[in-house]
């Protein structure tokens, strides 16, 4: 059965999360150790700044496998078992799959819908594949999970809108100008927030970026840090009409741009709209500037309102995403349960085909001299007859997965067809009776908080 032991920003405080995270370079070693734990046939470790999760496919007792992962975490991070119990969540079966799908879609992230987690999960999958700790079940689960996450993002737009003030400023720029490449921007003041917005502008292709500060050396420092040019304060103010975006973040007690200043700067302007972002408190720009045609002023409250409403949009999208995930988890579970009867089906088919082959060989002398084509035709005839005969019984066996009588049905088939028990193989195909026929809710919360 699928098991997951993890810790995230909801179940553990920052200092515990710091202790529990695995550095990227140590992951191969960690994976190798987890893979060797009792009852763990396949393993994946996801370690990011906000979560550590160990996902495993267990061929034995779920509780024993979960305990071995918890003991491993306790040893690796020098935490006591009660502490591990307190700060982790433990999930099994469909709940573990649902949780992983949610993580991939950003539903379990600190910032709802954030897209970085998908890349981190892909990296974890790649590392586990390289280390050979991913088998058929986790491989199927992760591929299904990654493709679902992509679909969720496209279909629901959960990551579409900005949820940070700095990114909201850039998004506003895109709403006004379409694209930011080829645009010019000016940053008045030398605040950290101004730097952050400036960095976003640069990453979105702004052509030229100027910093102006009352202390010229500050402007130079920021320009060098972010990438841009520095101009003296007065020259910066004079450039307001010559750029497309102005970000103001001075610590001035008085307004630095009045309505008259901006009106004068934009008179006869041919370069189109002007976006002013005032993230200073107290405000740097007279709010009445927004009344000027083709000038759009957003202060910190205006940006925060946009962020809040975007978060609301994301919450709506998250509900839609949960519905999609529920469908995909059900599909994965169907596949997984189907794997319980696969070894028997394979054994049954191979056994019948072997009988057919024996009979062909027994009758070969009586068939006389057959050409290559005729031999092939006889082989195909026998194979087709066997397929036809087996069709209904095999369909019935497949149905046992949904009916929940895999064990009884399997036993009956073995006795009727005289098929021996398939050899035990790690993973779902070799462990038909590892799971109860109808697992139902399988969340195991022993300490920690529910992460779903």
């Amino acid at each position: 059965m699928l098991i997951l032991v993890g810790s995230n920003h909801r179940s553990a405080p920052l200092d515990v999360r710091e202790r529990m995270s695995f550095p990227l370079g140590r992951l191969p070693g960690v994976l190798a150790r987890v893979h060797k734990l009792d009852g763990i046939a396949e393993a994946l470790v996801l370690s990011t700044c906000n979560r550590v999760e160990i996902l495993g496919w267990s061929t034995g007792e779920v509780e024993a496998a979960t305990d071995s992962i918890k003991r491993f975490l306790a040893e690796a991070h020098r935490l006591s078992l009660p502490e591990i119990d307190e700060y982790t969540y433990q999930l099994a079966g469909a709940d573990a799959a649902r949780h992983l799908f949610g993580v991939a879609c950003g539903l379990d992230s600190m910032i709802l819908g954030e897209p970085q987690i998908l890349g981190q999960l892909k990296q974890a999958y790649r590392t586990a594949s390289e280390q050979g700790t991913v088998g058929p079940t986790l491989d199927r689960l992760l591929q299904h999970c990654l493709s679902t996450a992509k679909r969720v993002r496209t279909a629901t737009g959960i990551s579409r809108h900005a949820v940070s003030v700095a990114f909201a400023a850039v998004e506003l720029g895109r709403q006004i100008f379409g694209r930011l490449d080829g645009r010019d921007a000016l940053v008045l003041g030398a605040g950290k927030m101004g730097d952050l917005v400036a960095r976003h502008l640069v990453s979105h292709g702004v052509r030229s970026l100027w910093f102006a500060s009352r202390t010229y050396t500050n402007a130079v420092v920021h320009a060098e840090r972010v990438g841009g040019g520095a101009v003296p304060w007065e020259e910066g103010l004079a450039r307001v009409g010559d750029v497309d975006v102005v970000v103001s973040c001075t610590g001035a007690a008085q307004q630095v741009l009045s309505k008259a200043d901006v009106a004068r700067a934009t008179r006869g302007r041919k370069r189109g709209p002007l976006l002013l972002i005032d993230i200073a408190v107290p405000r740097d720009i007279d709010p009445r500037v927004n009344e000027i045609d083709d000038v759009y002023l957003y202060d910190i409250d205006g940006l925060q309102n946009l962020v809040d409403s975007n978060l609301e949009e994301r919450r709506g999208a998250a509900e839609q995403a949960k519905r999609l995930i529920a469908r995909e988890v059900a599909a994965f579970e169907r596949w997984r349960r189907g794997q319980q009867v696969t070894p028997l089906i394979v054994a049954l088919r191979e056994g019948c085909l072997a009988v057919g082959q024996q009979e062909i060989e027994r009758f070969r002398p009586r068939l006389g001299d057959l050409g290559e084509k005729q031999r092939q035709a006889v082989d195909e005839l026998i194979r087709a007859v066997i397929q036809k005969i087996l069709h209904r019984p095999l369909r019935h066996l497949h149905g046992a997965v949904d009916r929940g009588d895999v064990a009884e049905c399997g036993e009956l088939y073995r006795s009727i067809f005289g098929v021996a028990d398939p050899p035990a193989v790690e993973g779902p195909t070799g462990a038909p009776s590892a799971d109860p026929p109808s697992p139902g809710p399988s969340r195991l919360i022993r300490g920690g908080r529910d992460a779903s």
Binding site: L172, Q175, F177, G268, G272, D293, D294, L306, E313
Partner: protein
């Protein structure tokens, strides 16, 4: 009412397409966009079928009557909307241009057969030049109108700090402005040529110099408004909200000319 069997079908197509665009706008559903695209293309074909049917019925190349003009204008407006929809990806034109084209089609349905055809003498080369150019010019001005409306909506949303989710459904301000400006430029040139051809038609019909009457005042007023916008933009960067409002005003004057001509 006309017996043209294509037009009621095209009206149904317009309604379905507009419903699909509305669903697409509200729920951002890809399926709704696919349905809307199919409806638009099908409606375009059926509407074209209606024009051909009408031409075959009366035995003349349209438009020779006000109703035919409306029918053709609606189809050209829909054609330009399809350009915006597929090439420029301006989906909201489906909530402006498509209903406009639908209303023009409906009006044409009402008046087809009721409006008197011109005499054969009047339907000469100059008349066809005048009506053809005017139709395309007016349709292009419809695009300028639609983009101006979108500009005003976007401008209002930005000024009043509406949510980004709403803004995301609109084209950027610059895009609305550029598309509207281009449409206005082309529409203005065609309107100028259309008015010139119209003057020749009136002069030929009356066999005497044209006196500026009611029929010429409205298009001339629209022409003056559009010329003022274009000159002001080229000279001192006149654009934005006021330019959008003036474009809409000019378009309304142009539309009044069309309605006056049809009635």
């Amino acid at each position: 009412m006309t017996a043209n069997p294509f037009l009621p079908v095209s009206l149904v197509g317009y309604v379905l397409a507009i419903v699909a665009v509305t669903l697409r706008t509200v729920y951002r559903a890809d399926a709704a966009r696919r349905v809307a695209s199919t409806c638009f293309v099908a409606t375009w074909l059926v509407h074209l079928g209606g024009i051909v049917h009408e031409a075959l019925r009366v035995g003349r190349v349209p438009p020779t009557t006000g109703a035919e003009y409306l029918l053709l204008l609606g189809w050209v407006v829909l054609s330009l909307h399809l350009l915006l929809w597929f090439r420029a990806n301006v989906e909201l034109s489906g909530l402006l241009l498509a209903p406009l084209a639908g209303v023009l089609c409906l009006a044409a349905m009402q008046w087809l057969g009721a409006s008197a055809p011109r005499t054969e003498r009047a339907v000469d080369g100059w008349f066809l030049v005048h009506t053809s150019i005017s139709t395309i010019g007016m349709a292009t001005l419809c695009v300028a109108f639609a983009m101006s409306v979108l500009y005003l909506v976007q401008d209002h949303a930005l000024k009043t700090k509406r949510t980004l989710a709403l803004l995301a459904r609109l084209p950027s301000l610059e895009r609305s402005d550029q598309l509207g400006h281009r449409a206005l430029l082309v529409g203005f040139v065609l309107l100028t040529l259309g008015i010139a051809a119209g003057v020749v038609v009136i002069a030929e019909a009356r066999a005497r110099p044209v006196v500026v009457g009611a029929k010429l005042i409205l298009p001339l007023l629209a022409w003056v408004v559009f010329a003022a916008i274009l000159v002001a933009r080229a000279s001192f960067g006149f654009r934005g909200r006021k330019a959008a409002v003036l474009t809409i005003t000019g378009f309304v004057l142009g539309l009044a000319t069309v309605v006056g001509m049809t009635l």
